[in-house]
Symmetry: D2
Subunit: 182 residues, 4 copies
């Protein structure tokens, strides 16, 4: 299988960090990228707490945990920096979070579109060499995620495969918020 380099993060602002984050600057670390929306129930109850557990379990020298706010609905309610700031504060999310660049035509934001994400939450793993190694829409299992991060940590190079999961329907469910089908 051909591995693909993870596409750049196209964001308008970063919170919880003094400096903007770029994937290039994270080369050498395993990256856990959690795409979410603050009004996505499965993100709030499951994926963000899971990402915080990963932040606490792994060293920052080895694993970068970053969030990406991929607002594709309810822009007025959750689309502002102020709303996200308040959310991160109240939910005690301490890792850096970027706001995905809004589309000009009302579609999903830029990074979400570039990655072809199906909705939120989407959990992404990028290896030490910057290759996309996992992209999963919906709730993910702690034991599985822990094992996958460790598998990437134990690689130096020569990554092997890409994993692709699908899911989808309209309206947020217990599993997440899918993009509307068109």
């Amino acid at each position: 299988m051909n591995l693909q380099p993870a596409k750049p993060l196209d964001t308008i602002v970063w919170l919880n960090t003094d400096n903007p984050i770029s994937l290039d600057a994270l080369r050498g670390k395993v990256v856990l990228l959690e795409a979410f929306q603050m009004l996505c129930p499965a993100c709030v109850s499951h994926s963000l707490p899971q990402a915080m557990r990963a932040r606490q379990l792994f060293s920052e020298d080895d694993v970068a945990v970053i969030g990406l706010h991929t607002v594709f609905e309810h822009h007025g309610a959750q689309g502002t920096r102020e709303a996200l700031d308040a959310f991160l504060h109240e939910y005690r999310i301490t890792f850096p979070v970027g706001i995905d660049r809004p589309s000009e035509n009302g579609g999903p934001p830029a990074t979400m579109t570039a990655y072809g994400m199906q909705g939120t939450p989407t959990t992404i793993l990028i290896d030490r060499n910057g290759y996309l190694r996992k992209q999963k829409f919906g709730r993910d299992d702690d034991m599985l995620l822990g094992s996958e991060i460790m598998a990437l940590l134990r690689e130096r190079q020569a990554p092997q495969s890409q994993q692709n999961d699908k899911a989808g329907n309209d309206g947020c469910t217990d599993q997440g918020c899918p993009l509307p089908t068109t």
Copy 2:
């Protein structure tokens, strides 16, 4: 002990209902009033799901379940009708929710102030005669709440006592979001 009549709800708009709600119009029913903020974690994970369970357990003829959005912080993020609308939609909250009238001086909103609430969530029970019978800040127990609602349902009149709970500190905790101390 002297029972106090529950103070009127001073709201600017009602969602999930065609008509504004007044406590006077609910006389004869037991009222479960859940005061919350959409960015209060304990409200989202505990109290609103609990209120929905109450809605499903008791008949609408006997028990009115209503929400009150008492925004006292992060006004820009959670203070608009649009934000609350999106939240209620994604979290599947179907009972009527009123937006508490914002203070003009930046303090807590009108109904929250009138009731002397200490923060969110605050769970309130009002008896068939319009008297305030419970006001508790923080997470509440399902079995206790179920028993209290039934106790009020079995009354016709002659209520007896008022319950008062206290809690408090700054910043939202697992138990709720207290009002700032001044």
Copy 3:
């Protein structure tokens, strides 16, 4: 509706109490009777903890909480007093528990048969006058059970009797079962 008197408890021994329990002696109280088996997973994870919550919520003057060990399978594994004793100790069950009288022909035990129970857990409520008011097989909801107990409490005044509970010991904790220190 014709109410039926709750049938007597036909037990061979009582644990967690100095004196055998009879329903007649509990007249005047609401009785929550939890029929269980120590190797029934839903009893262990749900119904016994729920009964303990009821024990803590309601006064012993008003509500008697009692267990009934209705062994209908795995008699060798869970049919002895010693096995039940160890179980009650490790799971911190402090209310009185009777062992249902074993059948002589290998069928379900005596009280289980008399009540026509379908299995374990079975949650039973008996009113202050000794009438059977609820009998449910399977998991039960906390809010519902709390409301039902209160409904029976509010039905009629009744005389009072005394129940004796014990609690507390060292041994297994939520974290595990440590070896005894020597």
Copy 4:
């Protein structure tokens, strides 16, 4: 760090397997060994379900999951093969479980003593070459355990052997234990 070879399992019988298990025969696989007692609440609610999740996540070709019943108290209640058999059946534990050899002087059983375990649950990891790599008393975290198993899996290639699991039966469900239909 000096690694120590994992000591042999000294058991009197194996359940859920046609053939006794020896660590020597598992050389080449990572071994997750879960020491438990059937009357240990944290084993029942946490560690055994966790071990089952590991069984489902990892291939049997790579990871052997085995239980060890290390009875050090309540011997009469949980010390028999019959009791353990009933327990494994009702809790749907399908991986092989050995019964640790009882002490002749009333102390902890043989393997538990050889390993110096502090109680139950104790979670043990053994690498592909038979070395003891983790021994933890108490509840363990899913993400951590997943990462540790993967770290051992990535250490070295090794030959493969076959493990045999059984699953499935009727009887108790998540809702309770129904009487057999006749």
